[in-house]
Symmetry: C2
């Protein structure tokens, strides 16, 4: 044995070193898809493993869990699952910003509870107005205009509004590991959908650019709309009346209305996602249910049960009970947000 080792001479060692150095470089350039880590921002652990195992199983044509491409449907909650949602849903911040912009034309708002709270940035007073107050705020800021006009307003806001804690655009407070997961699933033949309690038309103007999800793959809450022929041509007008709430029991119904088949993968982060996860779990084939647990107060936020925004209680119990994939943000994610872009301050 010792004699064998002595046979190694300098040229051999040199070649060995060259090989060791070049192998990762070459496999990075020319290696198979499997060799490169599709989820680099995910730390090694049970969550990452369960995702990769699932994708390999359903794409393995020779395996028992194979799922044909048209049936590879994956659904994602948005607030708290694809981007942050604290201290309040970003759409609520958008609505408050709209109230401030529209306030000069509405002097009465200074003394009307939800508007007054919005104008004074008094979050606890705003939340105290309850569902009814929030709805009033949404309707006053989201309705009474055409769909094109509303899309332009959202587009403008999402391009400039910044989160005070991070001083970054809200649209940049998306989760890098989830962007990788969306890409990874799509690279494996999945169609990715958003299924959010948020307003569908608050998301559509920017999610294609940010998440790679086209408008026709966005499901959300909706207000009523009506088609009108004007002198300038046809428009669709947004009415101050609820049409559909895509939350809790509404999520599987929204999925059924729009997609018309059962997802095989679903990710959420709150009790509002429980029914969507149950519906996905009840598939007869292999499926993946993921629950993002916000455990990182330092890099993002830590909250679950009892939180006004993104409350998570029953869904966490059921996830643990049923062996769903619970993502511990602090431990499972190496990175939270994408790097600051060139030119961004």
């Amino acid at each position: 044995m010792g004699g064998q080792e002595n046979k190694l001479n300098y040229p051999t060692i040199f070649l060995g070193i060259v090989f060791l150095v070049l192998t990762p470089v070459l496999s990075g350039c020319f290696g198979s898809q499997q060799a490169a880590d599709p989820l680099p921002s995910w730390n090694e652990g049970q969550a990452k493993t369960s995702i990769v195992d699932f994708v390999q199983a359903v794409t393995d044509e020779a395996g028992p869990d194979f799922v044909p491409v048209p049936e590879r449907i994956a659904v994602f909650d948005n607030d708290g699952t694809l981007w942050s949602e604290q201290p309040v849903y970003f759409q609520l911040t958008f609505a408050m910003d709209r109230v401030k912009e529209l306030a000069p034309a509405h002097p009465e708002w200074k003394t009307t509870p939800p508007f007054q709270a919005a104008l004074e940035n008094d979050m606890s007073a705003l939340i105290a107005t309850g569902e009814r107050g929030l709805l009033e705020l949404i309707m006053a800021t989201h309705a009474g205009m055409t769909t094109d006009e509303f899309a332009a307003i959202v587009d403008d806001w999402i391009g400039k509004a910044r989160h005070p804690r991070f001083d970054r655009l809200y649209r940049d407070l998306v989760f890098q590991p989830m962007l990788e997961l969306l890409d990874y699933l799509r690279a494996n033949g999945f169609k990715t959908f958003i299924v959010s309690g948020g307003g569908i038309e608050f998301m559509r103007p920017w999610v294609e650019d940010v998440y790679g999800i086209p408008p026709e793959q966005v499901i959300g809450s909706r207000i009523k709309k009506v088609y009108e022929m004007r002198d300038s041509g046809p428009v669709i007008v947004r009415l101050a009346e609820l049409d559909f709430i895509d939350d809790k029991e509404g999520k599987p119904v929204g999925i059924d209305n729009v997609i018309g088949r059962r997802p095989i993968a679903a990710f959420g982060n709150s009790d509002g996602d429980l029914q969507m996860l149950q519906w996905t779990a009840a598939d007869t084939g292999r499926s993946l249910m993921g629950l993002i647990h916000h455990t990182d107060a330092e890099r993002e936020w830590a909250y679950d049960r009892g939180s006004h925004i993104g409350g998570l209680d029953k869904a966490l119990i059921e996830a643990v009970d049923k062996g769903w994939t619970v993502v511990d943000m602090k431990n499972d994610w190496g990175v939270i947000y994408p790097p600051v872009r060139n030119g961004e301050e």
Copy 2:
């Protein structure tokens, strides 16, 4: 000139004949996509030309009308546009067949107008019950069960129900030229959607197989549904209550709810499609509006203005006025239905 001709000898002529014979054979095998006719069941004429011109224009990256792939959205009405609809919408035949099947459990139906008319195959009595009667018939046959149960009932019916005039399965009375058009558009990067006044869940079980349109690209009328957790697992139950009528002014709204961007191509056949065509025509870029005019009493049916089913009046006037593509079924279509399949009687 005459001398030139005299120089042709037999070997030259032979080579010429070989060339003439081989050219079409070889171009059929190896020719470009453009060389093969993508719409062989369409007769040469203005309708076919306008379709091909449109597709070439929006796919020409160097041209002024280029449209990026994600925005290539094409919408199609179903009844009378993709398949026949006479003497009554095929979904109504389905409902009448269901009434007959369910009748033993409902002795009162024998004397209740819409059901009695259905049981007695009395089409004029059925139509005389009006919208309310038809709605009652639809609710009694389409609601009160889970989505999975309803899909199985549709699947069973569509696999065996035959049209009396042609003695062919209803699902085979689809228009061969439109199947070619759907394929042609998809081969050119279009996403094809159905936007029908018919029930969404009456279409989904079979349109993927027949038209190549997946369930998530089907928009239609809907009844309300509710998510329920049962001992056997979660289900979605169909309620006897209208949720959305995807017809007339409802079509652009349905498109906006589900697709969230404006189509650049739309095909319909009745006044119920007018608003969808207007909405498409109002696009700022190039768009294609098609109207199928049923003019072939011999091979299919001839009807337009005043027809109870598929009435076409205002939309035809506007189509002619605006220069939309009016498809004259008798003259523009060389074939109506696909050939009878092997094994079919």
